[in-house]
Symmetry: C2
């Protein structure tokens, strides 16, 4: 994994040989982004059951699954990937340890490749939604190659629009406190030579009001059956501002991030992270000492503010209860 | 002046003996906050005409006024204070240099003391608006003692509410990019032992939605005759979110920050500051190299989103065109 905490200053690749390392990497945000942590968790499960089989593999799996799922609660991709690995384990009770590991590794790699393919398909559907050319897309956080197996969800749409011949530029919210926008999204887009302008999160209202944005596209960590969208903190006010200024608000959501077992946004667990993310920067104290903090990592955007949800099987429109279920059932 | 760039890590007092130093201090945000830079500019004018009189003083004044007013365009207090110093100069053509300096210095000190008195009066009117007890007030940026001659406008209301016996706690937006909230507001309130919780700007929607905020109170750098409010970037989306969740949105505006010559918010010049405020922190590069930036220091909140404007002469309610003019004319 690229250590995303160190970007853009340094590109450091970290290698993990056991599931506890993978869990620690997810918890500390060496790797982040819902699809990316799904893939990482699948690989962590494969590492976790290496060397065991039969009932020992089952017991080991419970420990590994519990450890990985406890790292970050909001993104459903993590639980989704672990559940998929569990099915493979359950379906192969007779394999010896070496064969079981090969089968589990192969499933993890399948998740990886399927995510990449899903991003590309989602990107194409999303690009078809974009009418203007040139087009300016505002995004929040990083839903790019770094957040996925590659290519990206929201940034996948950006890339697909460019590949379709559009003149695309991006406005990237810096995305406090972890700065995924200015550190990661801007870094990715610069590599692809896609023009990018960084703003502070609180400046999005100004660029929307000024008519400088054609559409907003964000990713999601978990979208409920009714279309409520959990995504990086700040997405909800961004959606409110987009609606106020009649700018389409799109969510790029691979099916792995849509949780049909979760009825509505209020049922999605929202992770709170350490206050030091707000009070310190690069080891330096930036807030007054002794202050309290509140640091929710995600918020929930109600479905009523979402213009469309873009998946790898097509575009869902309101009412999402119906359209998301239909897409999910489509072959 | 306390060097506000270094708080809360270090309390360094800087002394300036000429107007160019004062201008530089305002431009580089050693001192910031609309009322505070008004007071500083008045003192800068007094320093600037020291040693001259008559037509030489008039010529010198033009240079000093131009230099000071060019430092920061949005806050009207700066132009207001300079205009007030000009009146004193114009009314005293016959004074010799020493007497003129004493008179100008006395006027600058009057502005200082009047601002302090205005904050205390404004604070009392604001505190009367607060019905609940305990009360949680959300604020943006720093409209406290540091931003004024002392006591504060928005934080003046907080202080007055506490002095009136209320159990007050504050949620402070950290306020990117300069972090006036986490660095300055939190520091002031900790000194006064008023409980304060720091959040990132993009978390305000979550606390408003959760019903954790009784009212929002902010300061203003310039309020137009129609009640449109220019204030620190991020105020506009905060007002939109407050309206969405039926939370009162109050603006603490001493009359020195109300510009009746400015018809509406679109006529207020909005300062853009260097992109390095977004791409660097404490000399460290935080954004991908080579990215473009957009860094407006203020935004405009339309009057329709403002529940009331609190001044030292009372509380203005919509329609503001009428109520602000009436307060201004009141003796």
């Amino acid at each position: 994994m690229i250590d995303q905490r160190l970007l853009p200053a340094r590109e450091v690749i970290r290698t993990y040989r056991d599931y506890t390392g993978v869990a620690q990497a997810i918890r500390t945000m060496v790797i982040r982004g819902a699809p990316a942590i799904g893939v990482a968790a699948a690989m962590g499960v494969a590492l976790g059951i290496r060397g065991v089989s039969g009932s020992r593999a089952q017991r080991r799996f419970e420990l590994v699954a519990r450890t990985l799922k406890a790292t970050r609660p909001t993104a459903v991709n993590l639980a989704w990937a672990v559940a998929r690995m569990r099915r493979v384990l359950d379906e192969n009770p007779a394999l010896d340890a070496a064969a079981l590991f090969r089968r589990m590794r192969s499933e993890a790699l399948a998740i990886y490749h399927e995510d990449l393919a899903a991003n590309r398909a989602l990107g194409k559907y999303g690009a078809e939604l974009i009418e203007s050319n040139p087009v300016t897309i505002l995004t929040h956080c990083n839903a790019g190659a770094l957040a996925t197996a590659g290519y990206g969800t929201a940034l996948g749409v950006v890339r697909a629009a460019r590949e379709a011949g559009k003149q695309v530029s991006v406005i990237a919210d810096e995305t406090r406190p972890f700065l995924q926008g200015s550190r990661l999204t801007a870094w990715e887009l610069r590599k692809d030579r896609i023009p990018v302008t960084v703003i502070a999160d609180n400046m999005a209202g100004t660029v929307l009001r000024a008519g400088r944005v054609d559409c907003v596209i964000v990713g999601t960590d978990r979208t409920a059956a009714n279309g409520d969208v959990a995504n990086k903190i700040g997405t909800y006010p961004l959606a409110v501002m987009a609606a106020r200024h009649n700018v389409p608000f799109y969510v790029a959501a691979p099916l792995s991030s849509i949780d049909l077992d979760c009825g509505r946004g209020d049922d999605i667990p929202i992770e709170e992270r350490a206050g030091t993310e707000l009070t310190e920067f690069a080891g330096q104290q930036i807030a007054a000492r002794g202050v309290k903090t509140f640091n929710p990592a995600f918020d929930v955007t109600p479905a009523e503010l979402v213009t469309a949800i873009i998946t790898e099987r097509g575009v869902a429109r309101p009412p999402y209860g119906k359209s998301l279920a239909e897409l999910n059932n489509r072959a």
